[in-house]
């Protein structure tokens, strides 16, 4: 499989891009330290000559300069590059954690339901139908404020981890369904395969069958699902920020940058383009990686 992947040049390239973003996320503090800017300082407001009285960057191209490589944010005048780098962190942290939770729930439920069938299966189908028909985005919009007022005292700001947690929770609630459904189908067909019967004929226990025979066969669809789910979560998270219910200030966030960028697009398109194109690249790379992983794992692929 690794060999198959290695032969895939686009796959390698996308893997590198994804790796690059992961490194950015991990090394964000280091990068900004080297770069000499931090994502929360209001450079434009605290230094003269950067923002107009209306809050737009004075320099052309969104205030790109030797000081601020990607320009500064309209309004507060924060450094765009530093914000972008920390924004990857936000996106990846939420999407990565959600993906992990989704993987665990999806695998456990999907494999269990696929193997057990019967009543469990009917219950599962019902839950899936409910979750599929539920307007998830609306749910997401509403849940943030609910959690905030119910669990955060008025005198405290909602801690960043709690916002993250809410997002992770909601992504997980809706995210495990497709994975579990896929795995259920996979396991159902695996269950009918002779090697499972062979294991039974060898006297293998149920546990042995589930863990040693079935599980090694489902990690391929899980991996494919997750590499495609991560960009989906990143964009949904950005969409929520766009609708104004994502991660709050001052945690840097791409969705919020895009949303703000869309507002100032007419005067300062640069500010939309950096986060917009970054997100596009990020999602594109992840989608490509997902395809590459799928191809590499799928023995039937003829390329």
């Amino acid at each position: 499989m690794v060999d198959a992947f290695r032969r895939d040049r686009v796959g390698i390239a996308s893997f590198c891009v994804v790796g690059f973003f992961v490194v950015l996320a991990l090394a964000a503090p280091l990068i900004t330290a080297l770069y000499g800017k931090n994502p929360t300082e209001h450079y434009g407001q605290n230094g003269a000559g950067l923002l107009s009285p209306e809050g737009l960057p004075l320099l052309p191209n969104g205030g790109i300069s030797a000081e601020h490589w990607f320009g500064i944010e309209p309004g507060l005048g924060r450094d765009v590059l530093a914000q972008l780098v920390y924004g990857v962190r936000t996106s990846l942290l939420i999407a990565g954690t959600s993906a992990a939770v989704v993987a665990v729930i999806g695998v456990v439920v999907g494999v269990a339901v696929g193997y057990l069938s019967g009543f469990v299966d009917r219950a599962f189908t019902f839950v899936c139908n409910v979750l599929l028909a539920f307007p998830a985005l609306l749910f997401l919009i509403t849940l943030g404020p609910v959690v905030q007022t119910r669990f955060v005292g008025p005198g405290e700001s909602e801690p960043a981890w709690m916002q993250f947690l809410v997002l992770v929770l909601v992504f997980s609630v809706f995210g495990w369904v497709p994975l579990a459904m896929v795995l259920r189908t996979v396991v159902r067909s695996l269950r009918e395969r002779e090697f499972v019967e062979a294991a039974r004929a060898l006297g293998a226990s149920r546990r042995h069958i589930v863990f040693r025979e079935l599980l090694p066969n489902v990690w391929a669809p899980v991996l494919v699902h997750l590499t495609l789910a991560v960009p989906a979560m990143v964009t949904t998270e950005a969409a929520l920020s766009f609708l104004g219910v994502g991660v709050n200030e001052p945690v840097p966030d791409w969705g919020r940058m895009i949303s703000r960028g869309a507002d100032v697009f007419y005067d300062d398109p640069t500010y939309l383009v950096f986060p917009g194109v970054s997100l596009l690249l990020f999602v594109l790379a992840f989608n490509l990686l997902g395809d590459a992983v799928r191809d590499a794992l799928d023995p039937h692929t003829v390329r």
């Binding site: 686009v10 407001q45 923002l51 809050g55 191209n61 200030e249 590459a292």
Partner: protein, 593 residues
Amino acid sequence: MPAITLRTAAVPALATAAALLLCSCSAGAGTDAGQGRNSTAAKSGRRLTTTLGTAKDSQGPAPEVPGARRGGTVTVANQADFPHLDPQKIYAGERYSTSLLWGRQLTQYQITDGRPRLVGDLATDTGTSSDGGRTWTYHLKDGIAWEDGKPVTAQQVKYGIERTFAPGFEIGPVYWPQWLTGSEDRTEAVKKYGGPKKDGDLKAIETPDDKTVVFHFPQPQSDVPYMAAQSSSSPVREDKDTGTGYDVKPFATGPYRIVEHKQNQSLSLERNPHWKPETDSIRHAYPDRFEFTFGKPALNTAQEVFNGQGTGATTLTTKDELPPELISTVERDPAKRQLAVSGSRGAYTSDLYIRNDWVTDPEVRKAIHYLFPREQARQVLGGRYAGDLATTLSSPAVVGWKKYDLYPVAPTGDIAKAKEHLARAKSKVTKLTYAYPTESPQDDQVAQVLVDAFGKAGIELVVKGLQPAAFYDMVFGADNPYDLFLSTNSVDWPTPSTLLPLSYESHLDAVSNPIHYGNPRVDRELARIAKIGDAQQKAEELISLEETVMKDVPVVPFLYKSVTQFRGKDIGGAAIHPIYGVPALADVYVKNS
């Protein structure tokens, strides 16, 4: 997946992304946008002197707007619909101004050359008082009628005012119930009279005939002519009073009537055939129709209006302001600059409210006053377009306003001075909370500006963005847990009489006095001034009391609000109403096109 995968095709996708990146160059705001160039931003807080007009001034028709033409359809585009159209529930400048199109009150402001003059609207004049201000009498004009042709009667005016006592009308002004019953507040007032449905006839208003309304007040009242101009003083026909339905589609007395109102979508007006211009000295009715549209983002509307796309040329806004994002685009282009309609937003001021009962130490409040980053916060809100920095509590638009600056400070704040005052505080303050409505990203940014400034002074500012509904619920609730919030408010009419007595009296509830300000000396003064029947003297006394209040730094004055709205190139007569702070629709016409 069989055969060639999609991924070999990544190249075109990436190329597109790269192309997008390349063509995104933009000119910076600084290229020709300097500080000193022509700006459409209006000087806010223009000083005003509202005069009371005579009976002659009150006779229609209204003086013609030069160059105006009849005919055409005007589109009014705003992102949000009016939350209320019921005249007794309307309580905001822009709604007052808009409702003039279909609603008439006892009195109203006539605007000539941008100067307001209070004249009789349904009434023949601004009212005559007797009995030391305890009795006020209004006579209705002849020829005033509803949209179905039936005449407007004194009883209907009375019924309208009676409605303000009823449950569900808490959101309107409280003056009629308070004044007519001589009560401290509305809660007390409605115990004496609970509205026409519950308690029938209100004795305090007499209608000796169909044309005469007589108000009897237990205490002398000097501001009745102004109150008579409020939307609450509109007549309502009992047979047309559909309860909550009336809030969606009221019955017209003005030049237009409502054809259809799809909430959050559209509101259509057409001419009211029974409105006679000669009875109305305030309103014009140039266009044949008004079409209000709701839901479109302000930025989109602005683009269409400035580019004259779609119906943009005949569109104007009354609520959506010029998006800060478009300011420099508009300023660069003289043709577009013309289309901005700007002015002082009535007597609106924006202040940083401090809960005085929690931040009890005046030294801390002074520190906040000094560290408050006015300039930075205003920059985020659109710079001078947001308004001028304020030093006084009341707006220059209030009659008799006097300038003062008790604690002068640099616009960007003075952290050192703030720290000095903090050091003098009795107990050390390390943490304060600030609430704000998450209506726009600017709200978030202002919060960040404050966090930055407070942080520099050594105070951790905990900011809490709340859904708008929850925000107003919270900060005007009795159990508001937040120390600070920004609030934009106005006096109810251009005299100072509704400012201090209705907000800075210690017994007032949280809705009126959300900062819980209480100063016994101020209370005593207010009690004394309340008894003054002479409007002029009362105004002067209140103005001088304002400085006493502000010495305590109950709030930090921030802005005298400006407003910049916009109109299509074929819209004529659009000017900001000096009282209501939005383009006066009753003067608007469609140019020859």
